[in-house]
Symmetry: D2
Subunit: 382 residues, 4 copies
Amino acid sequence: MRKKEIRVALIGHKFMGVAHSNAFRNLSMWMNLPVKVSMKCVCGEDSEENLSIFAERFGWESWDPDWRRVVQRNDIDLVSIATPNFLHKEIAIEAARNGKLIICEKPLSNNLSEAREMLDAVERADIRHCCGYTYRFTPSLALARQLVAEGRIGRIYNVFVRYAQDWISDPNFAMVWRFDKKIAGSGPLGDLSAHSIDATRFVTGLHFKEVSGNLQTLIKERPLDSAKPSGSKGSVTVDDVAQFLVNFEEGATGCFESTRLATGRKNYNTIEVNGEKGSIFWNFEEQNSLLFYDNQRSPKESGFAKINVTHDMHPYNGGWWPQGHGIGYADSFVIEFGLFIKSILENAAFNPDFRDGMECQKVLEAIEKSSVTRTWINLSQI
Amino acid sequence: MRKKEIRVALIGHKFMGVAHSNAFRNLSMWMNLPVKVSMKCVCGEDSEENLSIFAERFGWESWDPDWRRVVQRNDIDLVSIATPNFLHKEIAIEAARNGKLIICEKPLSNNLSEAREMLDAVERADIRHCCGYTYRFTPSLALARQLVAEGRIGRIYNVFVRYAQDWISDPNFAMVWRFDKKIAGSGPLGDLSAHSIDATRFVTGLHFKEVSGNLQTLIKERPLDSAKPSGSKGSVTVDDVAQFLVNFEEGATGCFESTRLATGRKNYNTIEVNGEKGSIFWNFEEQNSLLFYDNQRSPKESGFAKINVTHDMHPYNGGWWPQGHGIGYADSFVIEFGLFIKSILENAAFNPDFRDGMECQKVLEAIEKSSVTRTWINLSQI
Amino acid sequence: MRKKEIRVALIGHKFMGVAHSNAFRNLSMWMNLPVKVSMKCVCGEDSEENLSIFAERFGWESWDPDWRRVVQRNDIDLVSIATPNFLHKEIAIEAARNGKLIICEKPLSNNLSEAREMLDAVERADIRHCCGYTYRFTPSLALARQLVAEGRIGRIYNVFVRYAQDWISDPNFAMVWRFDKKIAGSGPLGDLSAHSIDATRFVTGLHFKEVSGNLQTLIKERPLDSAKPSGSKGSVTVDDVAQFLVNFEEGATGCFESTRLATGRKNYNTIEVNGEKGSIFWNFEEQNSLLFYDNQRSPKESGFAKINVTHDMHPYNGGWWPQGHGIGYADSFVIEFGLFIKSILENAAFNPDFRDGMECQKVLEAIEKSSVTRTWINLSQI
Amino acid sequence: MRKKEIRVALIGHKFMGVAHSNAFRNLSMWMNLPVKVSMKCVCGEDSEENLSIFAERFGWESWDPDWRRVVQRNDIDLVSIATPNFLHKEIAIEAARNGKLIICEKPLSNNLSEAREMLDAVERADIRHCCGYTYRFTPSLALARQLVAEGRIGRIYNVFVRYAQDWISDPNFAMVWRFDKKIAGSGPLGDLSAHSIDATRFVTGLHFKEVSGNLQTLIKERPLDSAKPSGSKGSVTVDDVAQFLVNFEEGATGCFESTRLATGRKNYNTIEVNGEKGSIFWNFEEQNSLLFYDNQRSPKESGFAKINVTHDMHPYNGGWWPQGHGIGYADSFVIEFGLFIKSILENAAFNPDFRDGMECQKVLEAIEKSSVTRTWINLSQI
């Protein structure tokens, strides 16, 4: 008897397209699903030749530059969206209309109203959906959530969250489309803070009540050509630092920053949660570990314990290898996609979905608004 | 020929009184000053017996419960103020009136107008003054400043500053005077953020332009008696978490938090500075080291270097012992007092002085105001 | 025109069999080889059903319980040996006789004479061979080697090497075949110290001159059934701690330990190299970074820099993802196999090969001998 | 009523003389002893002028270049020996003969027979004695011992101990008396490994059974003048690296190295202890913390916890300041001297004493012997 099959089309073939391809290709090895996942077709805005090279390299059976055609194919069950953000909405709604399962990269969209339309579309179509907040599938971050859920942190007081990178700290790094608000939507706010907001929701379960935001563009002009730093310049219209303070419904406070100007920080995606009974500190640059302080032990023995999160007992079995043999960045996508497909087969709940994507967008919108009005914005006003 | 003598009176004999006593007692050993520092008298609100025990233990020649009498004594040259904050103003003004040299613990006062009066008084009296932002005298923090001053960090983009402790994270920790706004002035804002503000000024030289503050009291009631957690309660009227965002005059942003509820953080006084050419990260819990990322090296060899700041080449010679033999919390007071006295002898500039104390108070006041108005406050409005 | 094809057979389907399967499956994605790598057949001592499940899960076209048959097949170009050590020799020699390319897991064999036979066989057959010291393909360890090769460490003085795990620190962990010298050959000596010896050779280029070894079995008996700790026991006949001191030809010293009893150390595979001009410290538990101390900088700025080894400029491009997005344990196998195949296509040198495997075995043999004679053993006596 | 007085003479006024002076001067402040400690006299081989400057700076009432005269004075109760090692024996025996209490710096002497004579002398004289293994009085190391004593580590398997410095890693660092075996006795063996041996005895209580040693002089010649690296050279006759393997009576193994050539390691005095129930790792470069892995917790929450050893509940109250306010190198001397004096007043046991010093010397002698015979040496042969 043949295994049931889930036939996948991928839209997008850049960084995220590669990450998705890798995940689909590794699914059968690691997740041992009772279903065959077939990599049917990859779409992308590129030449047929380039697409065919991509398809062969990553194992896609076919390619097609026209995503509209593909999302209508009867032999496609799942559409995975890995395009630039501004295309998410159109593709997702079209895929929903055609009854496809959908995985959509984060942020769900470039603004809240789009996110709401997308959520509407998938709910009306009654299909299953996943919004790609992949860090949730890092075993160490999932352990943080588990400790909170088990009451090991107790009442939460403070959340201190920083996502820092440094790839544009050189002022002569050239003007690219990512610095143009019309195309990119925002800078680190949508790119990095979106992850921080989702991680906070995932780990703590806290609800954002109100925010005070500060979006700054510290490097206002960049050369059009990085090789000619004194040549023509373009105006940067997105933020390069995004900060915000938060009061949560539950009576906890938060302090957030994301920046692309933190020289030396490569992918310093971090979250600290301080509670009555304990604290956790997570840092993606050391993704195979989690710091946990247990306040219920004697002070004599208390300290932040660096847990090597690679044990069978840990979420997602601590990864795929024996204890002490850590996983890498790309592996969380395999767990994410595997669990999404498993939830479909078992008709079980799955998060993060488009609603999670929309909730995150709501906070982003409040921050943007606050940054303009220079006052606190209550989420209920959004 | 006798060495010139500086005769000291100390007001206050609790935590800070002990730290000051220790510093005066160790001065001659470490700082090799061309002057004899005599520990003449200690004052404190206590019984004669307790004061006499204190004096004998720490090496004070005499004691007196009445500070007013002491600051008028002709055989006193320097008055060191280590009392609760609300007494600083009166003592300092009286000491200035009597022409004494003054060391005053931080924060300079409980509010800005007091600080201005105090600065006025010492300037009018034309005496030398020191405001006790002692962390400036930690070799590692001073190295951070030096690197900035030498251009090793370049243009500063972000400042990320957290001072976290956990001593009241237990909600049954009893109501004490420190939680009463009338006596204590504020919570972590004045106690901890004051240090963060001064450290930022010291290390970066940036000027605070505007702030958005969030002062929260997360634990609003505490038992009067910690042994009877379900007994009578008192209202906490100071903050237990203080957060604020900052835009600096120079076009840099800052994100600050101080809290006494960060379970597991004992004296986590930290500052990160990210600039075009490099970054530094300082953490008092590891006070003998500084992290420095040098962006001018090849990316192949770049990483945060953990500098053991105990070399002769480091500020204050890296402390008092051979390389690798670190110093402790109390030792920075010796350096501070030694350098203050040296600046007097050499008639040279000394910081931090009352003006630094007042500048810090200005920022604190803006944060408090912003926390009430829930808008950004420009420092020029203060 | 069809790409040239390399057709692979894998012998072994446990931990290492899985790691090899994963690597072959991911090769085309990551290494972009000008050749097609086909996963033809997997062999293993198991039921046909289990083998077929394995083959489907990992992508092998066929399976066969009889490795002898497979290594003779004309449609196989490369044989990958991932069996228990005691089978390496027979399979490798048979594969060589049939002119196959060979990848053989480490340690090359259970003793030196076997290793010599194997080396002889592949050299006589004039085929290409790889001995699986995979840690060489971790970008961070390769960076360590590069720094040494570029003279950044200068004359080497000390090598301090520890490989510590804890999976049998519980004395009730049951007696398994790995604790039987007849089957397993040795304990951590062959399993862990073999890696340490190879890493030392790889990073430093030093030549082992003489060793003083200490092999100890601290837990001499273990229950046959871990669920019945007070039931029947078996005798452990391999070491559980292996230590040795080394003098190198070049006038440097080494101190080595490997253990499976280091409670809390999960896969603490480490090496420190101290030289005149600098030092490095590598720890596999944080495999995406390397510590480097550069002694040619001013002492004022010198410290161990934690380099995030994920930059394009780093060996193997720092892995396969943008900077800051680290790789995992299994990924080094992909690099290893890809570079081995590339070296074949380009007729270029490749290490580690069987000679490296044999050289390592020589040191292991000297340690075992020294542990028995309780004197220093010179490698020239082996 | 006058407090009883203990009148001290210090012999030696270099690095250790300064550390002793500081400790005596701070004793009353910190240890709150029921006795007055008077700093009567300092001796040293120096001009009267220099001695008088030293005495004034550190608070000694008088000075005397002739130690023989001083140890006979009736107004001296305690003699503190901080001279170069080769003088220890003569001074200690003379002091014992005169019935003085004795503190003697480590190592107790330059060889075992001297140590035995010294022990004999103090036992015959029936006086109290202290051998200055000061690291025992670091709260974090004492916590390690306490955890072992309380059974938190369980049966000990491995001890991994390294004391690494780098002050002579430059081959042009000049030839000084410390490199002359006749004067200095040994290199890092007596200077650093002595500390490691004592720390192992202190923390674990294990008994050294047999050792295999390796003493190497990697830099065999050094310029007489560091400013003229190509000028005349002298021969280094002491080790610059000392390594040894150990089997303990209790069935545990040890691996030790000390070196002055570990570029980047400033005072990297470390010890790791692995046991059935837990592990500890101590590193003096971060002296205010201890790493503890508790194997009796669930693997889900287990990791090395970094304990901030500054709590009242910790040994020696975690130091002298509120939690989170660490101590420095020199402070352990105050604790040591204070507890020694306290033990005298209370007629209680005190360690480390001359017997501890002698036991350490025994191990050192076995290592030296083993290094010559190039075989294992059993301590019973010493």
